[in-house]
């Protein structure tokens, strides 16, 4: 308490300094928590989320207490024949032990489903190849996501069986409960025999089971206590009508007593994180920006630590007489450690309070924008509190270490010097210079990274050079869209092609098929992955895309490559030499096709392509891979948009294609929306960068103030014997400039040493010469400015005050 009271008294002298330090640490604490939360949410690979917008119901029976209970297979069979029921899947529940990623789970509630569940949930055919897997319930995933890293390849091992199954996806939250059962793992029916010892007949898993088959299954599954059904409906959910129909069907067919049925209604909306799982380029850019953000946040922390270290060193030198006195009075090192720790309690308390406030404010600031709403989901109170407490403990330790390390350095083996106040030992002087050098090093490095990021983002934005007033209409289908010929010559030949263009981006699964580009004689290892977009002939002119080479028209055997591809193909940098060259596009399931390079397009952002340097090739619409067409994108002039939608609708109806037409708005609007999630990381990085910049200013200022204070008797003496402020300024400038001169080669050495690591981790060069020079210039300017400001403070004091010793 005594030391605490004393520290509050000291605070009076240093309140602004403490407040600034607290703010720096608070921002670090808040941004570190926020970044970790964000990273946990964005970077954790999740299995496929099942998106089901159909109504479905879980069917069971109510007992005399109106509790939801099991139903038998025969009754479900009756229900499946009711006209309102579109699809019905039988479910059986059993407890079993399992192991996921080495973690054992006892008494898992397994739900066995018929293999028509995929259709029932509305999954497109393309996902059927994953059929031999399991689903996990939303609550199970939510509960275990932090302890088990659930990604696409996570396997579940079931005790006592030879079954090791992969996780397919996460079911909607509304399917968490089946009556009184909390469903956890959903498995195909065919695995039931491994768990019950009862072989399942082939007909058991069929959609159209015969009554005999059902009864046979029913008899064999007596050991399974619980039985439910899950169904989707053909028409709008009408509770009473469905219930009546079920009862009526039951009565008509019954050999048993009429039964009370109940059902659950699933909510329509479902939280789906679209794009992240299936768009590698999008995922890569988020990954990249997240790591940059984390590097900057850690830089912010280091800068704060160094700042505190510097201030503590200067303060301890300034307070050396007081601390020496304590030493004389019998203080031990532990007493000093205790005292310094307690003295920093106000700083720790302010840091944690401010940090919590900033952390709490962040979601409030972003909650107004629905695009960022996903972040609020990640603010799980329980988890956050635990993380926060751990983080607070770490920050407290970090602050105490930063504050106490100078103590160890300064007083290790030190003896009482009555005159020590007016002179600094060589070692202490060295610390002061090392501190300043460290600050300059972090400042130049941090600013170099930050400026590289900013300059690159500016360049990226400047590269959006196409007609952004165009409207985009997407057609998405759950099955392959059958195109008989070039869309504009065949199916949609009536369209006004001067007002619209069309592109097909084949839907490419990460592990499914991705086209490789090669030229004749190229070795397999040199072939590279490209994004292939099939476009109509007028695509480039309508979108006003810019070419590096000349371009006239796109033939069926032509291919347009972008600059990124050209760079990979033209080793000598002569892109014009590539015109007329033959290239081959091939994939695992894609038959090799040879095209002739027609022109080179400038690198630009495209839909689903978020980086300028992504290799992209454009081929003629008539050459699109027919079995990969799930989505068409139409681009139209604003006036033509409505007419285009109508024509597309008619075409889909006439061809019986089940697809969704989505009018996406203008390209600029779309780009803005698409950018937002990535932008969030970018802007957060920019805020952190600004904080680093502000902290650099403040810390350099306080470092310089501390320096002047520590030398105040020397400067006072110099002034007393006739020196002018400019003499002191010149001396300080020389010292700073020498330090600056030494720091810069060190910065360059660090850059060269770290660059490969950054390229590996972040995937791009994050240091550029321009940004380095700019950062070095800024730091030098800042140093001179802080030097001048601190000298002004010195000038304002009387020489007698400077020469006074501090009690």
């Amino acid at each position: 308490m005594f030391d605490l009271l004393y520290s509050f008294r000291l605070l009076k002298r240093e309140k602004i300094q403490i407040f600034i330090l607290a703010f720096g640490f608070a921002f670090f604490t808040a941004f570190l928590s926020f970044s970790l939360e964000l990273g946990r949410y964005l970077l954790q690979e999740k299995p496929l989320w099942v998106q089901n917008e159909n109504h479905y119901m879980t069917i069971g029976r109510t007992d005399i207490n109106s509790d939801f209970t099991t139903i038998n297979g025969h009754e479900l069979d009756v229900i499946s024949k009711i006209p309102q029921v579109k699809e019905l899947s039988r479910l059986a529940v059993k407890n079993w032990n399992g192991k996921i990623n080495g973690k054992v789970f006892n008494s898992l509630n397994l739900v066995f489903y018929q293999n028509n569940l995929n259709a029932l949930l509305g999954l497109p055919d393309i996902f059927q190849y994953r059929d031999n897997g399991v689903y996990i319930s939303h609550s199970f995933w939510h509960k275990n996501q932090s302890t088990i890293n659930l990604d696409n390849n996570v396997a579940i091992e079931f005790s006592g069986t030879s079954k090791i199954l992969k996780i397919n996806g996460i079911l909607p939250e509304s399917m968490d409960r089946l009556g009184n059962t909390q469903a956890e793992i959903w498995l195909p029916y065919e695995h039931l025999s491994s768990f019950s010892g009862i072989p399942v007949l082939p007909s058991d898993s069929s959609d159209n089971d015969s009554t005999e088959g059902n009864n046979s299954l029913e008899n064999k599954l007596k050991s399974l206590a619980i039985f439910y059904g899950v169904a989707t409906l053909n028409q709008q959910f009408e509770h009473n009508r469905i219930l009546d129909s079920i009862k009526q069907a039951e009565l008509n067919n019954t050999k048993s007593e009429p039964t009370n049925f109940t059902y659950f209604e699933a909510p329509k909306q479902l939280s789906v994180v679209s794009g992240i799982e299936f768009n590698p380029s999008y995922r890569a850019i988020i990954n990249q920006q997240f790591w940059l953000l984390l590097i900057l946040v850690i830089g912010l922390g280091l800068l704060n630590g160094l700042n505190l270290f510097t201030i503590s060193t200067s303060k301890l030198i300034y307070r050396q007489q007081e601390l020496n006195l304590r030493l004389v009075l019998g203080a031990r090192f532990s007493s000093f450690f205790h005292q310094i720790s307690v003295e920093h309690l106000p700083l720790i308390i302010s840091t944690l309070t401010l940090g919590w406030l900033i952390y709490a404010i962040i979601p409030l600031l972003i909650s107004g924008n629905s695009v960022y709403a996903f972040i609020l989901n990640s603010y799980d109170a329980g988890h956050t509190l635990l993380t926060w407490i751990s983080l607070c403990a770490l920050i407290t330790i970090f602050i105490i270490i930063c504050a106490c390390v100078p103590l160890i350095k300064l007083f290790k083996g030190s003896h009482f010097h009555r005159s020590s106040h007016s002179t600094l030992s060589v070692r202490n002087r060295l610390y002061i210079h090392l501190n300043r050098a460290g600050q300059m090093l972090i400042a130049i490095l941090g600013l170099t990274i930050a400026l590289s990021l900013v300059l690159e983002e500016i360049e990226r934005r400047n590269s959006i050079q196409f007609a952004d007033q165009l409207h985009v209409i997407d057609v998405q289908a759950e099955q392959v869209i059958p195109l008989k010929s070039n869309l504009l010559e065949g199916e949609l030949g009536t369209l006004n092609s001067s007002q619209m263009a069309v592109s097909i981006s084949p839907f490419v699964m990460p592990d499914y098929d991705t086209p490789f580009l090669s030229v004749e004689g190229m070795e397999d290892s040199d072939k590279f992955v490209v994004r292939n977009v099939a476009v109509s002939e007028n695509y480039f002119s309508l979108l006003e895309l810019e070419f590096v080479t000349s371009f006239t028209d796109l033939g069926r055997n032509d291919i347009i490559i972008n600059e990124a591809v050209a760079d990979l193909l033209a080793k000598d940098g002569n892109v014009n030499a590539l015109i007329g060259q033959d290239v081959t596009l091939a994939g695992v399931a894609i038959r090799p096709q040879t095209f002739r390079v027609k022109a080179v397009l400038k690198n630009t952002q495209h839909f689903g392509i978020f980086e300028n340097n992504t290799p992209v090739v454009y081929t003629h619409l008539g050459k699109a891979w027919p079995f990969l067409i799930y989505q068409l994108s139409f681009f139209s002039l604003p006036d033509y948009s409505d007419a285009l939608v109508n024509t597309i609708q008619s075409w889909l109806l006439s061809e019986s294609i089940e697809g969704v037409i989505e009018s996406q708005g203008s390209i600029s609007q779309q780009l803005s929306d698409l950018d937002k999630r990535g932008n969030l990381l970018f802007w957060t990085s920019l805020v952190v960068t600004s904080l680093i910049f502000a902290l650099v200013c403040i810390s350099l200022f306080y470092q310089m103030m501390g320096h002047v204070k520590a030398y105040q008797v020397k400067f006072g003496t110099m002034l007393a014997i006739g020196a002018k402020t400019r003499h002191i300024a010149w001396e300080l400038f020389k010292e700073s400039f020498y330090t600056f001169g030494i720091v810069n080669p060190a910065v360059l050495a660090v850059i060269f040493a770290l660059e490969p690591l950054f390229i590996k981790r972040v995937g791009q060069e994050i240091f550029s010469l321009e940004s380095y020079l700019l950062a070095a210039f800024l730091v030098l300017t800042l140093t001179i400015m802080t030097l001048l400001v601190s000298l002004f403070r010195l000038k304002g004091k009387k020489i007698s005050v400077l020469l006074q010793t501090n009690g």
Partner: protein
């Protein structure tokens, strides 16, 4: 407690300088018994302050034997030295060395806070007694800047007394005071020596004060030239 508080035999102290070794104390012999009031005088650079620092365990000897309160100082760890400094030695400085941000009572209580043998509930009582002993009982809550030079030195003496040390080392205790206050402080030290039988070693330039001590030592070039 040993009768002899300080026993120095053939003590040498040298400082390492870039130009070579600088001998400050040369083959020093000194014995100080309990209850003595000793003055050490000498010119600047004669080694007075170095000797006081060695007596107060702030500096080490280069060679020779040195016993303090019966302990062989050369075998003591830094931790043990801290404890002896706290419990057995009281210091009085020329410039008082009071902490500006602490009240008089807090300054006086400072040595108690480093003494694990005294419970904090007795602090107030002990501090009051020490302040009364130096006639500063009414200045309990005031800050050093609100006191005169003489009062500040009396507060520093109270701080030196508060742990009831066996030995008080005073480094030019009247150097910053006028003649009247100097005499008052000296009288106070003499009173403490008389009543409490506390051993006091005073380093001073003031020959008048030195003559009033029971025993006077004169240092010249690191050796005692007068030991009476």
């Amino acid at each position: 407690m040993a009768d002899k508080l300080i026993e120095m035999s053939n003590v040498f102290k040298e400082f390492d300088l870039s130009s070579g070794k600088l001998p400050v104390l040369k083959s020093l012999q000194l014995t100080v018994s309990e209850g003595e009031l000793i003055s050490i005088v000498g010119k600047s650079g004669s080694g007075k302050s170095t000797l006081l620092s060695i007596m107060g365990l702030l500096d080490d000897i280069s060679s020779g034997d040195f016993k303090l309160c019966g302990h062989d100082v050369r075998s003591l760890s830094n931790y043990q030295k801290s404890i002896i400094r706290n419990e057995n030695i009281g210091w009085i400085f020329q410039n008082f060395n009071l902490v500006e941000e602490m009240t008089v009572a807090e300054n006086v209580s400072l040595p108690l806070r480093y003494n694990n043998k005294i419970s904090s509930k007795h602090y107030s009582e002990i501090v009051n007694q020490a302040l009364s002993d130096v006639d500063l009982g009414d200045k309990y809550g005031q800050y050093p800047s609100q006191l005169s030079g003489g009062q500040q030195q009396r507060a520093a003496i109270a701080r030196a007394l508060v742990n009831s040390p066996d030995l008080i080392l005073a480094d030019e205790p009247t150097g910053n005071l006028d003649e009247e206050n100097s005499q008052k402080i000296f009288e106070l030290l003499k009173k403490l020596n008389g009543h409490k039988k506390t051993t006091i070693v005073i380093v001073t330039h003031d020959n008048q004060l030195a003559e009033q001590c029971n025993r006077g030592l004169t240092l010249k070039d690191g050796v005692f030239v007068n030991n009476h």
